[in-house]
Amino acid sequence: MSDIVIQAEGLVKSFKGFRAVDGLDLTIERGMIYGFLGPNGCGKTTAIRMLTGLLTPTEGSVEVLGLSIPKDAEALKYKIGYMTQAFSLYGDLTVLENLSFMGTVYGLTRAQRKERIAEVMNRYELTQLSDRFAGKMSGGQRQRLALAAAVLHGPQLLFLDEPTSAVDPESRRHFWEQLFDLVDEGTSIVVTTHFMDEAERCHKIAIMEAGQKRLDGTPGALMSAMGANVVEIEAPNLRDIRRHLLGTEGIVTAAQLGARLRVLVKDTIPDPEGFLKSNPQTASATIVEQVRPNLEDVFVTATGEGRQ
């Protein structure tokens, strides 16, 4: 058993000339949660669909769990689980009917089915809901059902496409705990998200923009290798300061967070606090202090306006 679950090289997908994914290289190791972080339309879903064999790559090669995709896509389907972005089970079937259908489709025997369904229903708190119609459940309940259906056949590799975009923060936290339980049991997980806090929970992330991978690594490594320091300023006229700073040499970007302005200063400037204090624009500042960078800072430096 190799320790690489996904190996992709030069992955390209064009739709009528538009390159949704543009030269993606990936190496994903076993037993971790790998996150694709990026804005809507950056090619996350297209990338995941190519990795599951749903879309044929225009160029490049993919190997998932040692199987070459798309050639062995059908054999792969028994080994992976997939949770689509929108709820895709049957709203007019009950929880039990949905799970039973999925179990049969994945070729579980009657005994296996009974055992596994009882197990996932218990695990994802669906036992009480077993006769409820999926279409009449809350977002959080539906998401638990979708996860239960995706892991019913015990996949080694789980793909989750924006799994928590329709649920409340409480359910989202709970959901991630369940993902870590799965990882603990040896499942590898690939997840897409546009939530920073979610990305921060991943073992490794890839920051995507315009179909390309801008950065990848562990969130910690990305933060320390960001190439910028973060300074927060408190001042009465933050909007003016922001406008002035944006054009200043050495400033990557500035964004307001409530009463504070979060300024990213390039790490070529040795003393970012001193640099800002000495700036005439920020003379009115009452507080100027360097803070710990977060993933959003990494994301901003790696993409869009932050990237020169």
Binding site: R49, A73, I80, T84, E97, F101, T104
Partner: protein, 381 residues
């Protein structure tokens, strides 16, 4: 084994969904029921009680007898009495009546000379003898109405002068097989099976698969190891049952209400109906691989449904159509089914008698299934 259990899984899922979709479930029974009663009673090619206006310019006892004789044929009903032909034309234009019966003021003289009355044959040199006794003005736009009134042209008039009717010998002897009483329902009811099955079978199957695509279920389904053929077979089995139920409703109710004979070969009827259901379902499956939305699937169904009603021989005789239209009709499964089911139900035909239709329908079914399975991709691109 896995294949069979997967087909069963799709089948029971489809059944559960169908059971909960009360509206669709109701339509399965109500469509054949209501349409049978509606069309069985409504469609009638024997035109009767056409509303007419009478313009009686002679105003004699004879003219009144003549009008009564015309009414007694039951082809027409007098709804208006007018005084001039101009008024009659106006009544036709404004669609108050379909025809006007104009009796000239010299009606009595014309009648006396008319050979239809049978008062002996006056010298044919007399110009007057060849004049008809009265005139019909007909709204000829509807050919059925026009020909019904034209059938009155040679009405014998001998009763007017209490003459014994001429015992004329027809040129040909005509013996009517299979529907001697000339009841339209006998021809319509078996045909109705064809049109209703065409509609429900194509629509249900195409919509059933397109619905999964619309609701996003398809993205999940194609991520599972299910094979396209398993999905399709599992999806169509419930509709085969539905088709058979609809056929049973139409034929048994047609037997009870309209006395349509049901003593043909039942096994042949069953096999033929299954073949037609199969052909229609496979066409629905092909549509489902083309249509992206349920609305598109519906439009494609109507595209086939209308010619299946109008060209298949259900409404108008197949032989009366131009050759090009006959070729189009041959392509429709409904045309072949019309021939088959009318054969089985009315003429006691067997599958051997209609073997060409059987072969064609089987071919259509196999081809449709293959085309649908090939076109159905477990990919999103």
């Amino acid at each position: 084994m896995r294949s069979i259990s997967r087909i069963l899984a799709v089948f029971s899922k489809e059944l559960a969904q169908l059971r909960r979709d009360r509206m669709t479930f109701g339509m399965v029974v109500m469509i054949p029921l209501i349409q049978l009663i509606l069309f069985g009673y409504a469609i009638n090619t024997n035109v009767r009680d056409i509303p007419i206006a009478v313009v009686d310019q002679s105003q004699t006892g004879i003219s009144r007898i003549l009008v009564q004789m015309v009414e007694a044929t039951r082809v027409v009903t007098v709804t208006e009495r007018l005084t001039t032909p101009e008024e009659a034309e106006e009544a036709i234009r404004s669609a108050r009546v379909r025809a006007a019966f104009i009796l000239p003021d010299d009606l009595t003289q014309r009648l006396a000379r008319s050979p239809a009355v049978g008062l002996g044959t006056p010298p044919s040199t007399d110009q007057e003898t060849s004049r008809p006794v009265a005139q019909w003005i007909v709204d000829g736009s509807d050919t059925m109405i026009a020909s019904s009134i034209k059938s009155l042209r040679n009405m014998p008039l001998s009763e007017i002068y209490r003459q014994a009717p001429n015992r004329s010998t027809p040129t040909f002897e005509v013996t009517l097989f299979y529907n001697p009483e000339q009841r339209t329902a006998v021809n319509i009811v078996p045909g109705l099976v064809g049109t209703i099955l065409t509609m429900t079978m194509i629509m249900f199957t195409s919509a059933a698969i397109v619905r999964e695509r619309e609701r996003g279920n398809m993205e999940m389904l194609i991520n599972t190891p299910i094979r396209p053929i398993e999905l399709m077979v599992g999806k169509i089995i419930p509709y085969i049952f539905i088709g058979l139920v609809q056929t049973a409703i139409i034929l048994s109710l047609g037997h009870v209400l309209f006395n349509v004979p049901l003593d043909g070969n039942m096994i042949d009827l069953f096999v033929g109906t299954l073949l037609f259901i199969g052909a229609s379902l496979s066409l629905g499956l092909v549509f489902s691989t083309i249509a992206q939305t349920q609305l598109q699937a519906m439009q494609m169904t109507v595209f086939v449904l209308l010619p299946s009603i109008l060209l298949s021989g259900f409404m108008f005789p197949y032989e009366g159509m131009p050759v090009a239209a006959q070729y189009i009709a041959e392509a429709l499964p409904a045309t072949h089914f019309m021939r088959m089911i009318r054969g089985f139900v009315l003429r006691d035909a067997t599958l051997m008698d209609v073997h060409r239709d059987v072969i064609w329908m089987s071919g259509f079914f196999v081809l449709g299934m293959v085309a649908a399975a090939v076109r159905f991709k477990k990919r999103l691109d």
